[in-house]
């Protein structure tokens, strides 16, 4: 399969596919971060995670339209406003869902999957009724168009680089919030021992609610970033949900570092294979490999050593 390309071509292909893989990696990380926070910290599987992401994408789309219409001069910067709005919208919907649905089901994780799946169906249909079944795409500001010519044969799109730097920033913020802030300490205390955490005066219910909200909010940002590289439809979230679950499980549920490492390996494998095989076979082989590895090592790549 390497026969038709010269060595230089192959290098350029690898670099460009590698970069395509990095963009996929960014989307995976942004989506998986929120899921890992919710699953790792609370043990809840949120099947509607993709729909929270799409909510962020639609909020971004509406913001960009609003800026185009009312504040055309500020249009180049609309994305930063949209991102914050997406975070708030998805996060508050998440907190509402936790209050109305999830908190009744903490003892029954399998039932949570079914209930959140129902929620995802409702949200999908709601998007379809409100925004229409057609996919929508946002207009990118000028500075995000075009690409950076690294060498003669290597081109790197600017929006891709932007999404990547955003991913790095968000990851750092999440890590800071969870591991160095007082609130993060409360979250970890609740995970380790809910009863004792309650006994020392932590409001465990409120911690749960904000954790769920944070996870959904990150999904909103992921959706916001997603509009930079693709169009948004009512069912787009469902396309990514299985991949993202595998990313989280493969990385080891409670490990933030594991999530990032597994997102990296999965996205790189997939995008490199995609060049040499058809897209569907690349995906099949990647997913099969993950499932096979998970059968050998069900706890995932990186896990905390815990006794149950």
């Amino acid at each position: 399969m390497f026969g038709d390309y010269s060595l230089g071509d192959l290098g350029a292909i690898l670099a460009m596919q590698g970069f395509a893989g990095l963009i996929l990696f960014s989307v995976y990380v942004l989506m998986a971060l929120g899921l890992a926070v919710i699953f790792g910290q609370m043990g809840v599987i949120n099947m509607a995670h993709g729909e929270f992401m799409i909510l962020g994408a639609y909020v971004t789309w509406m913001t960009s339209n609003a800026f185009q219409q009312y504040l055309p001069t500020l249009f180049p910067g609309y994305f930063f406003v949209a991102m914050i709005l997406a975070f708030i919208a998805s996060g508050s919907l998440g907190m509402l869902v936790e209050w109305g649905l999830i908190r009744h089901l903490y003892q029954r994780p399998l039932d949570t999957m079914l209930a959140t799946w129902g929620l995802s169906l409702i949200l999908q249909q709601a998007y379809r009724s409100v925004f229409g079944a057609r996919e929508v795409g946002v207009e990118l500001p000028d500075w995000m168009m075009g690409s950076w010519q690294a060498t003669d044969s290597i081109q790197i799109p600017i929006n891709g680089m932007f999404v990547m730097s955003l991913t790095i920033l968000i990851t750092i913020v999440v890590a800071y919030v969870l591991f160095w802030s007082g609130w993060g300490r409360q979250v970890r205390a609740v995970v380790q021992n809910r009863v004792m955490a309650g006994a020392v005066g932590i409001n465990t219910e409120r911690v749960d609610r904000y954790t769920f909200g944070l996870g959904c909010g990150i999904a909103g940002i992921a959706g916001s970033a997603f509009t930079m590289i693709g169009s948004t439809g009512p069912t787009a979230g469902q396309l990514y949900i299985v991949d993202t679950f595998l990313v989280v499980v493969f990385g080891g549920a409670a490990s933030l570092f594991g999530t990032i490492a597994s997102a990296f390996s999965i996205s790189q494998t997939q995008s490199t294979l995609e060049f040499f095989l058809s897209g569907s076979m690349a995906k099949v082989i990647t997913l099969l490999t993950i499932v096979a590895i998970l059968m050998m090592r069900p706890q995932g790549l990186f896990t905390l050593k815990v006794r149950k």
Partner: protein
């Protein structure tokens, strides 16, 4: 089959007889062939739902990939029927006669090796049971021996459903792609598309369904069923008592897979095609909701739940396509939040006590009467 008081208790016997009356007498008499064929299509999902009662309700193993086994069974049957439909005489306009039409469209010139055994009907029947059964055994053995369960197992089965769908859609030349295997005509020369054939197939299906119900009831009542329930509630205690938890889980999962495969094969016969849209994540999780609506602990409930949800789906999505997804979503949430035991739970809580009281009061009057009758003798 021996119906004795141990095999079915009184209310189960009533359930069995009323279901048999409904499916064998009432529905065929009241519905036209088109509607009866719809019922037949719904009932194929009931096989999956009964399997899920064993695997999820009793074993506590939630599989979100039952569509995989439904699809494997269905595709085995479809491959046989397709080969029969694409005889050399039927396909002489193709560039390679004698192979299925979609292969010809995809420039495949010889029948692939894994299609060849499906010329034989006995092999096909064996494959419908064995292929999903062995596949389920491999998945189950790999996962349960390593003590993977709960949500992890659910996610992995879901991923397998996704993988199989992508594979079937991607390998168009070998599987028929997104359209699936269509244009199935005859079974051993017997045209399956006529009204009469549909009528006969319906009864064959109902008989098989009752076979599965009896088998499930048998599993439920033996020691095996009790161990499954014990395992679901206190897995460690069962393990400490010396039982191999993994083997029991593998058995429950394989049984559910085989039930689903029988349903899939019948689906192909009833509907006349098989496509990846019955394999993936969405149909698989919808099959779980049939069981949940009927009651995850009730075998009869699973059949009623399947029929009800599908009737609602057909009638709602015909008249209000927008409402259906809202309704289905609300159904998922309501069943989980408010009625974890589904329809059979509602029945047992609200209807059964009244019937029991009615029967008990009648019995009381009878016994009073007998005392009164006996009184003069004293």
């Amino acid at each position: 089959m021996i119906i004795n008081s141990r095999f079915f208790n009184r209310s189960e016997l009533i359930g069995f007889i009323s279901l048999a009356l409904l499916l064998i007498v009432i529905l065929p008499l009241t519905l036209d062939v088109f509607r009866l064929n719809l019922v037949a299509k719904y009932l194929t999902y009931a096989f999956v739902a009964i399997g899920l009662v064993l695997c999820w309700g009793y074993g506590g193993i939630l599989s979100l990939g039952q569509g995989v086994f439904f699809g494997l069974g269905g595709y085995c049957m479809a491959m046989f029927l397709k080969l029969e439909a694409s005889s050399v005489a039927n396909t002489k306009i193709q560039s390679t006669p004698g192979i299925p039409d979609f292969m010809d469209w995809n420039q495949i010139t010889a029948l692939p090796l894994f299609w060849k055994p499906f010329h034989s009907f006995p092999f096909t029947l064996a494959a419908i049971i064995l292929v999903p059964g062995i596949f389920a055994f491999i998945i189950g053995a790999a996962m349960f021996k390593r003590r993977v369960g709960g949500v992890y197992f659910a996610i992995i089965t879901q991923a397998i459903a996704a993988i199989l769908t992508i594979l079937i859609v991607g390998q168009q030349g070998y599987t028929g792609g997104i359209n699936g295997i269509t244009d199935l005509r005859t079974l051993h020369g017997w045209d399956i598309r006529t009204d009469q054939a549909k009528f006969i197939l319906y009864f064959v299906e109902v008989v098989l369904l009752f076979g599965c119900i009896v088998a499930a009831q048998f599993i439920r009542l033996t020691k095996l069923g009790r161990i499954l329930v014990a395992m679901r509630d206190q897995e460690d205690r069962v393990r400490f008592s010396g039982y191999s938890v993994a083997n029991f889980k593998i058995f429950a999962f394989c049984a559910a897979a085989v039930f689903a495969a029988i349903g899939g094969a019948l689906f192909t016969l009833e509907v006349g095609f098989m496509s990846p849209s019955f394999v993936g994540i969405v149909p698989s999780i919808e099959m779980v909701i049939y069981t949940a609506v009927g009651g995850r602990m009730s075998i009869f409930g699973a059949v009623y739940g399947t029929l009800l949800v599908n009737f609602a789906k057909t009638s709602l999505s015909e008249s209000f396509p927008q409402l259906w997804l809202f309704g289905l979503g609300a159904l998922f949430i309501a069943v989980v939040l408010a009625f974890p035991n589904g329809l059979s739970g509602i029945w047992a809580d609200y209807v059964q006590p009244h019937i029991d009281r009615l029967l008990a009061s009648r019995k009381a009057t009878w016994s009073n009467g007998s005392v009164a009758d006996g009184a003069p003798a004293e």
